[in-house]
Amino acid sequence: MQLCDLTIHQLKSLLEKKEATAEEILDSCLVRIQAVEPKVRAFITVLEDSAREIARAIDKQGNYQGLAGIPYGLKDVFCTRGVKTTCASRMLENFVPNYDATAVSRLIEAGAVMVGKLNMDEFAMGSSTEHSAFFPTHNPWDYNRVPGGSSGGSAAAVAAGEIPFSLGSDTGGSVRQPAAYCGVVGIKPTYGRISRWGVIAYASSLDQVGVLTRDVADCALVLKTISGYDPLDSTSINIEVPNYPDSLQDDIRGLKIAYPREYFQQGVDEQVKAAVMQALKTYESLGAVVDEVSLPHSEYALPAYYLVANAEASANLAKYDGVRYGLRDFSAENVVDMFSQSRAQGFGPEVKRRIMLGTYALSAGYYEAYYLKALKVRRLLKNDFDQVFENFDVIAAPTTPTVAFKIGEQVGDPLTLYMNDILTVPVNMAGLPGMSIPCGFADGMPIGLQLIGKPFAESTIIKAAYAFEQATSFHLAKPALGVK
């Protein structure tokens, strides 16, 4: 076991006892990055020099409060002052923001050490990181498989021991799904909990920042650090942020856990089902009350999601016109051709497909039949959840229908790829907090247990996750990596 394999709380304890320095921890991460990156390819940019500078400054100061001296990586969707922020797109290949996203500013204030920017599906559109314009990322558990997406680099880097934590973004499952595929912990808190300022937008009413870590205690710590109101994001909510690490208690006697029957149908793999059912038995043995419920509109969540998300995407991505930033086609002679050709060259096929779908759903004659209809279904999806939460504290389900699939297996058919998100999108549609934690293996690949909570009840799902983690050892398993 090397420093880079430890959790944040283990590293913090070493730092506080002066048994390791921030620079030693960083070095350990950099050595691992160098060893595995040829195979994993999680990073778009590695910032060795600036990371070393920060680590040395922290060591000099000798104060290891907060996240001081802890290395991390950012999905390349977060704006970073003076550091290229590409969104894994040719469109933003050379974009250098002149400000930091709020979540990033909070990590900087907490003393965390940014090691680099992580690969993703272009503009966060995809479920496998194969839609990165640069290169695909590989799953550390099996390099022939995808790490999931769109925060695939964020999940793979944490799983491979390259960094102890990362940030991602989750619009329809983009933190929870890769967390499940890579065997790490991933949380998407309630919509409005973390500022979206400086997070390049995909679908504004669904996007939320998320955290990926190696265990639940780390997740609670990072979430606490970056949550809270931000005047720069009018959809961030001005309510108190609980001290999430206080929720790390394993007494869950009497906790009411529901499992929706619809989440165990729809082509969910038998081994995945069995692992999640076993997890529910573990919860029962810990004193939780477990019962089956119905979320009757579940089967409509995915089509409604793709209409809503892509309608919003078509508006959000209209700003990439080659004028203020991003790629421009210099051959165009008039301004409309410049817009259309710059966009044609800057965007990859999946982004184009989603912009087209969203534009279609918002266009005259189709707005009511598609976009408005999807928003009404969204209301019904939320009502389903509200009803269950009248009687239960937590909803438990698989995070994904299957384990990670093979690279190249699903690129041909967009609809098949979309099915990976079938169990995660309803949570975004209802704006709820959701989390994925390791709960087993199938064919040597990790399985994720999804825990869903009431709005702003992150503490409850963290508590449930922690209790499960204490009772099991799935989170301790590590991929072999096959390198020195």
């Binding site: 009018s234 909510i237 793709y306 008039n334 259309s340 096929p349 209809k373 209301r379």
Partner: protein, 94 residues
Amino acid sequence: MALTIAEVEHVALLARLSLSQEEKEQMAEQLGAILEYADRLKMVNTEDIEPLDNILPISNVFREDVVENSPERDEMLANAPMAEDGQYKVPKIL
């Protein structure tokens, strides 16, 4: 059912996206399949259901109209593909 090429061209114009002939044909087929899948929403009874466009109970969020410093102009312009005299430069519009 696939969209027609004319429909694809119309949407591509609205989206300011030039597409090759091959892309248009692919788009017609793939969008058609996705919309066919989306058509299952028609089976849901949404009579008297209010659309939900945002989960938070907020509408307009106001702040005091106070002038604050904006980022440096030169820093902003540094990302522009073309700039001149402190302004963005584009091909002739009129």
